[in-house]
């Protein structure tokens, strides 16, 4: 198929349609509106369900209901809307049903702004809703990667009866790139043995997240954890660039990762032995590979569009073996490659300490810069 130029949000929406999306429920919020808008005409023309809900709260609970029937369903939103959905996300996790969620992150906290950000890493990867649960989080860095991820997201959600979140930022949602879309798949509802779709010729079914008896809830938590173990074992994804001889390894996901790629190339052109590790699955996080890289590299540079949320995961994997430096931009500011190049150059000659505090050090440099 020939390449076509698509806007990120619309491409993601169309890829979901082609992956067999049967119902979409959403609410307008910038910078993800094009997903809702695209599906508002695409779904009805295919005879599939589309509802613009009264709020994100309504949207996630419509998704919850539709997912209980076994249908392929999704919603999308941006940071403040995802916060509002957290109640439903926890309920869906507790009910063990598959749902796909797209979060087009923007600057925060609060109303913040509509510029690209990665400030929701902790919220979506580490919880957000109440209780013990995990969400599969995939972070594409290009539109093609996002498009390829949509069928995968549904497959993973259904395989592990969990929420799969495709996490991008406003820039990936708003930009255009040439892509090839996946083949059109019909909306085919699997015959799940748990789906509440009418007790015809079978015993009735109940889907709930309530387990009033604590030992029963404990068993449920263990079941979720067991599934999470399998996800951790099977669903780690990442991309690597120039790592063979890299002494400095830059680690960044999504947009920060691709901006870092430009910086890494520029550093290579200057003769520096630098590589890039770009986690694609943020949850489960590629701890083992990061740990392995820590055995080979002299130092890590973590780059994020937040205040070092993924940095904690890198530190966990490195476990104090090599120095880690951090560079972040906040509140909707996207770093330019030259900022990261400057950091790479600084690190290549700096006398780095193992017991340094990467966030505190970065803040000192930031305060001088943004004064």
């Amino acid at each position: 198929m020939a390449r076509e130029l698509w806007k990120g949000n619309e491409a993601i929406a169309e890829a979901a349609v082609r992956a067999g999306l049967e119902a979409y429920f959403g609410y307008p919020i910038t910078p993800q509106n094009e997903i809702l808008e695209w599906l508002s005409h695409r779904m009805p023309e295919l005879g599939r369900a589309f509802v613009q809900a009264e709020a994100e709260l309504g949207a996630i609970n419509m998704v919850y209901g539709a997912a209980c029937t076994g249908a392929r369903v999704m919603t999308s939103s941006s940071s403040p809307g995802i916060s509002l959905m957290m109640e439903g996300i926890s309920y869906i996790a507790g009910t063990e049903i598959p749902v796909v969620l797209v979060n087009v992150m923007r600057g925060g906290p609060g109303l913040g702004n509509i510029a690209p950000s990665q400030g929701d890493y902790n919220q979506i990867c580490k919880g957000g809703g109440h209780g013990d649960y995990h969400v599969i989080v995939l972070a594409p860095a290009s539109i093609q990667e996002a498009v390829d991820m949509m069928p995968l997201a549904f497959d993973l959600a259904e395989k592990y009866l969990t929420i799969c979140c495709v996490l991008i930022d406003g820039s990936i949602g708003q930009m255009m790139e040439p892509i090839e879309l996946p083949e059109m798949r019909p909306a085919q509802r699997k015959d799940f043995p748990w789906a509440t779709n009418g007790a015809k010729n079978r015993p009735r079914r109940i889907l709930t997240s309530i387990y009033l008896d604590p030992p029963e809830e404990e068993k449920t938590n263990l079941r979720l954890l067991k599934r999470w173990e399998a996800i951790q074992a099977n669903e780690i994804r990442s991309k690597e660039y120039f790592l063979d001889d890299a002494e400095i390894v830059v680690i960044g996901f999504g947009t920060a990762g691709r901006v870092a790629l430009s910086a890494v190339r520029a550093a290579r052109a200057k003769g520096l032995k630098v590589g890039l590790f770009r986690p694609v699955s943020l949850s489960p996080y590629p701890y083992a590979r990061v740990a392995e890289l820590a055995g080979k590299a002299k130092a890590f540079l973590v780059v994020e569009m937040n205040a070092g949320q993924m940095l904690d995961d890198v530190r966990l994997a490195v476990n104090g073996r090599i120095p880690i430096e951090f560079y972040g931009r906040l509140g909707g500011v996207v770093p330019f490659p030259d900022e990261i190049l400057d950091e790479i150059q600084r690190i290549s000659t700096a006398d780095l300490q193992l017991d340094g505090n990467p966030v505190a050090d970065w803040m000192k440099r930031m305060e001088a810069m943004v004064r």
Binding site: P31, I114, S171, Q174, M175, V259, A260, F336, D338
Partner: protein
């Protein structure tokens, strides 16, 4: 090889579409390309800009601080982007809306009266295509025939009748660029 172009002006000047035309053309000749707009309140009027990156390999940052070319359709855009262009880069100035000349001599400056030319052609809305033509006059990444093929391939059927006028605007831009271009020192 990577080329970065920032196009900037008032909302409604067709800046975003001009960037998309460049992107389609780059895609059709097998290049990697990203088009990224400024988005938000400014898209309702006010200033608008987009960045187009064209490359042979996987593109890293879709945003650039120092582009290889800038097309500025109004004065605020000239003030903002003239200092940013890489030495040896290209600056297209829409002199219909800008009343000062470029200050730098280390970049190729292409002053073209995009709006006036578009008016002469009889389609004032095509100032953006004149600007695209002017850019091609100074830039090697894409040719006029690349743009022509892209317009032909991607213009929606209902707009196809506008194709000749678009090509006329494009060629006028190229023509004027050749005439007015001040090469980098």
């Amino acid at each position: 090889m990577q080329t970065e172009i920032i196009l900037s002006g008032f909302g409604g000047q067709g800046i975003m579409f001009a960037g998309q035309v460049l992107s389609y053309a780059a895609m059709d000749i097998g290049k990697q390309v990203t088009w990224i707009p400024s988005y938000g309140p400014e898209m309702r009027g006010g200033t608008a800009n987009c960045t187009v990156v064209i490359a042979d390999e996987e593109i890293g940052s879709p945003l650039v601080k120092n582009p290889s070319a800038a097309v500025v359709m109004n004065l605020p855009s000239l003030d903002k982007y003239e200092p940013m262009i890489q030495p040896g880069g290209v600056l297209v100035i829409n002199t219909s809306m800008v009343d000062r000349s470029a200050m730098r001599s280390d970049i190729t400056v292409v002053p073209v009266a995009c709006n006036d030319i578009a008016e002469e052609i009889g389609t004032p809305k095509l100032a953006n295509m004149v600007a695209v033509g002017a850019l091609l006059g100074g830039l090697e990444a894409l040719t006029a025939s690349d743009i022509e093929a892209a317009l032909n391939a991607h213009m929606p059927g209902r707009h196809k009748h506008l194709l000749p006028k678009n090509l006329e605007a494009l060629n006028k831009g190229i023509e004027n660029a050749r005439k007015n271009m001040i090469k980098a020192k």
